[in-house]
C-alpha cells in the first residue's frame, strides 16, 4: 500500500481556509462547497457514486436482487455452470452462486466500514495527541506506530488471528466478525495516526490557533474546534479508500482460513471454498471475485475523486 507517500499527498492537499474562500458572489464559499462544485462535473465521481448506492442497497436489502435462499443447497446441482435459471451457476454444495454473491455484500461492507471507523478513532486519537503534546509522547507513539508498520499486515493478521481464534475452533458469526474488525483496525491505525499527526502539526502553528490559545481556549476546545475541522479532509479521503482496501483484506484473511468462516456468507469465503476447483468450477470463484473487485474499485474511485477535487493544485 502507498501509505507513506499517499500521506504526503493527502496532507499537502489540505487547502488553506483563506484560499478556499474567493468572494466571487459576495457570499463566502466553504471548502466543501468548492469541492462539490468540482465533483458534480466529474464523470468518475458519478460512476462510483451510483455503484456505491447499488452496493449499499444490496447490503441492506439483498432480497430485492434475488428471491433465492443463499443457504439452500441441492447437492445434485453441485458445480453446475451458469444457465438462464441460475445466472452464476451453482457452487460445490449446490447453492446458488448469484444469491450467495448478493448476500455476501453485507458482510464485506459491514467489516470494511466498521474496521475503518475503528482505524479512524484509534489512529485519529493517537495522531492528534502525539502532535498536540509533542516531545517524548510524540516520539513514543511514533515508535510504537513504527513497530506495527514493521509487521506486514497479512503476517500480523496471521499472528493475531492464529493465536486468538484458532483455525479449527468454531466461533459464532458475530464474534468472528468482531475479531476480524478489531484485527484490521489494530494493524491499520499507524497510517491514519501519521496523517492526523502531520495535519495537526501543520495547523498547530497557524495564527488562528495561536489566537485561540491566547484567548484562553483549553486543549479540548482547540483540538475539536480548530484543529480537527482542518484535518478532516485528508482523513475522510483516506478513510474512504481504506474501506475499499479493508474489504479486500477481509477477503484475503478469509482465503487464508483465519478470517471469517462458513456460517458467515462472504465473497472471501466463497473464493476460498473453490480455489481447489479452478479447473472444473471457476465460475463459483470468478463471480464473487468480480463483485469483490468492483466493490473495492467503487470505494477507491470515490476516495480519489474527492481527493482530486480537494486538491487546490489541480484547480
Amino acid at each position: 500500500m502507498s501509505e507513506p507517500t499517499a500521506t504526503q499527498d493527502l496532507v499537502q492537499g489540505v487547502p488553506e481556509p483563506s484560499a478556499a474562500a474567493p468572494a466571487s458572489s459576495g457570499k463566502p464559499r466553504s471548502l466543501w462547497h468548492d469541492t462539490w462544485d468540482i465533483l458534480k462535473h466529474r464523470k468518475i465521481f458519478w460512476i462510483s457514486f451510483v455503484l456505491l448506492i447499488v452496493f449499499l442497497v444490496m447490503a441492506a436489502f439483498p432480497s430485492l436482487f434475488t428471491s433465492k435462499n443463499p443457504e439452500y443447497a441441492t447437492l445434485a446441482r453441485s458445480m453446475e455452470p451458469p444457465s438462464s435459471d441460475a445466472w452464476f451457476g451453482f457452487d460445490l454444495q449446490g447453492r446458488d452462486v448469484f444469491a450467495r454473491t448478493i448476500y455476501g455484500a453485507r458482510t464485506s461492507i459491514i467489516v470494511g466500514v466498521l474496521a475503518t471507523v475503528g482505524t479512524v478513532l484509534l489512529g485519529g486519537v493517537v495522531g492528534v495527541v502525539a502532535a498536540y503534546r509533542g516531545r517524548w509522547l510524540d516520539s513514543l507513539l511514533s515508535r510504537i506506530g513504527e513497530i506495527f508498520l514493521g509487521v506486514p499486515y497479512v503476517l500480523g493478521a496471521i499472528i493475531i488471528l492464529g493465536s486468538v481464534a484458532p483455525v479449527q475452533a468454531n466461533p459464532g458469526k458475530t464474534l468472528i466478525m468482531t475479531v476480524v474488525i478489531i484485527v484490521l483496525a489494530v494493524l491499520g491505525w499507524p497510517v491514519l495516526a501519521r496523517i492526523a499527526r502531520s495535519a495537526v502539526i501543520q495547523a498547530k502553528h497557524q495564527d488562528y490557533v495561536q489566537a485561540a490559545r491566547a484567548l484562553g481556549a483549553g486543549p479540548f476546545r482547540i483540538i475539536f474546534k480548530h484543529l480537527l475541522p482542518n484535518s478532516l479532509a485528508p482523513i475522510l479521503v483516506y478513510a474512504t479508500i481504506t474501506i475499499g482496501s479493508y474489504i479486500g483484506a477481509e477477503a484475503t484473511l478469509s482465503l487464508l482460513g483465519i478470517g471469517l468462516r462458513t456460517p458467515v456468507i462472504s465473497w472471501g469465503i466463497a473464493i476460498a471454498d473453490h480455489t481447489r476447483y479452478i479447473r472444473t468450477g471457476a465460475h463459483a470463484m470468478l463471480f464473487p471475485a468480480a463483485f469483490l473487485s468492483l466493490c473495492v474499485l467503487t470505494f477507491v474511485m470515490l476516495g480519489e475523486a474527492v481527493r482530486d477535487a480537494l486538491d487546490p493544485k489541480l484547480r
Binding site: 497479512v154 484475503t252 471457476a282 473487485s293
Partner: protein, 308 residues
C-alpha cells in the same frame, strides 16, 4: 554519512526488540491454546499439552522465553516446528526462492511502473495518460489473490500457456507470472507516484533553464527531470519491500511456490505457528534495513540532501 548510518542502525535496535517481543508475546501468550488444533476434533490430553509446553518452554515466564529466543536467534538456532523439523533448514531451502521472486517483482515494478509513470506524466491528459491512469486504478482495486487466481485461471487453465503451479526448483521462466502478480499493486502505485512528480517537476525552474539553454529534449528529460522525479518512486519501492512479503504469502500459496511465503501458507493451514515467529522477525529486519537503505540512497540521488 557514516555516522548517520551508524546512528540509524542503533535506532533500529529498540524497534527490532519491541517488534520481536510483540510477535513472541502474541503467538505464545495470548489467550487461546497454541496446541488446541493439534489433536483433530477432540481436545488434547493434558499430558500431551504439558509435554509440548515444556518442550517449547511455555512453562517459563515470558521474559525468560524471550531471552532464550534472542540468544537462539543470535546463534542461528531457530528451533524446530511441531513435527521436529528444523526451522533453520526449512528457511535455508526457501529463502533463495523468495529472494528471487521478490527481486523479479521489484524489477518489474521499477521498470514498468516508472516507464508508465514517465510516459503518462510527460503527456498529461493525453490518450496514453488516460489509459495508464485507468489501468492503475483497476490494478489498485484488485486484491493480490484475485489477480493471482485470475491469471492462473486465464493463462494456466484456459490458454494453457503456463503451468498453473510452479515446480519445486522454481526456475526463472515459471516465476514470471507470479512475480507480476506480486508486483501488480506496487506497480500501480509506482506509476502514479512517478507521474505526479514528473508533472510537478516539469514546471520547475531548473527544467525551464535546461530547455532555455537549448538542451535536447532527451537530455532534459533523461538527466534533469528523471533524476529528481525518481526519489518518491524509489522511496516507495524500498519501503514497500515489507508489504511485498505480505503479498508473497498469498502469491506463493496460490502458485504453490516453495518459498518463505509458501512455508507460512502451509504452516497456517497445518495450524503450526512455531515457524511464524522466526519468519516474522526476519521479515521485520528486512523491512527496517530496506527503509534505512532508501534513506541512504536519497543522498546519492539528490546531493542537496545532507545527513546530520
Amino acid at each position: 554519512m557514516g555516522r548517520y548510518a551508524i546512528r540509524r542502525l542503533l535506532q533500529l535496535i529498540p524497534v527490532l526488540l519491541g517488534t520481536t517481543f510483540l510477535i513472541n508475546y502474541m503467538v505464545w501468550q495470548l489467550p487461546g491454546d497454541p496446541f488446541a488444533a493439534r489433536c483433530g476434533q477432540r481436545p488434547c490430553p493434558d499430558a500431551y499439552i504439558n509435554a509440548m509446553r515444556a518442550e517449547f518452554g511455555l512453562d517459563q515466564p515470558i521474559l525468560v522465553q524471550y531471552w532464550h529466543f534472542l540468544k537462539n536467534l543470535l546463534t542461528g538456532d531457530l528451533g524446530v516446528n511441531f513435527n521436529n523439523v528444523s526451522v533453520a533448514s526449512q528457511l535455508g531451502e526457501s529463502w533463495p526462492i523468495t529472494v528471487r521472486l521478490g527481486l523479479m517483482a521489484v524489477v518489474i515494478e521499477a521498470v514498468i511502473g516508472i516507464t508508465a509513470g514517465v510516459l503518462s506524466g510527460l503527456k498529461r491528459g493525453g490518450f496514453l495518460d488516460n489509459v495508464i491512469t485507468i489501468s492503475t486504478l483497476i490494478l489498485l482495486s484488485l486484491p493480490v489473490f484475485v489477480t493471482g487466481f485470475l491469471l492462473q485461471w486465464l493463462f494456466g487453465v484456459q490458454l494453457d500457456l503456463i503451468k498453473p503451479t510452479v515446480s519445486p526448483e522454481a526456475p526463472f521462466g515459471e516465476l514470471i507470472v507470479p512475480a507480476f502478480v506480486l508486483a501488480s499493486l506496487n506497480l500501480a502505485f509506482t506509476a502514479r507516484l512517478t507521474r505526479t512528480s514528473i508533472i510537478e517537476n516539469r514546471r520547475s525552474d531548473y527544467v525551464r533553464t535546461a530547455i532555455a539553454k537549448g538542451m535536447t529534449n532527451r537530455r532534459v528529460v533523461g538527466v534533469h527531470l528523471l533524476r529528481n522525479s525518481l526519489i518518491p518512486a524509489l522511496t516507495f519501492i524500498g519501503t514497500e519491500v515489507g508489504s511485498l512479503m505480505s503479498g508473497a504469502i498469498i502469491t506463493e500459496g496460490i502458485y504453490n511456490i516453495n518459498g518463505i511465503g509458501g512455508l507460512l501458507w502451509r504452516a497456517v493451514n497445518d495450524h503450526d505457528f512455531t515457524i511464524v515467529v522466526p519468519i516474522a522477525s526476519l521479515l521485520v529486519l528486512v523491512y527496517l534495513l530496506a527503509n534505512l537503505l532508501v534513506d541512504l540512497l536519497y543522498g546519492v540521488l539528490d546531493p542537496r540532501i545532507r545527513y546530520e
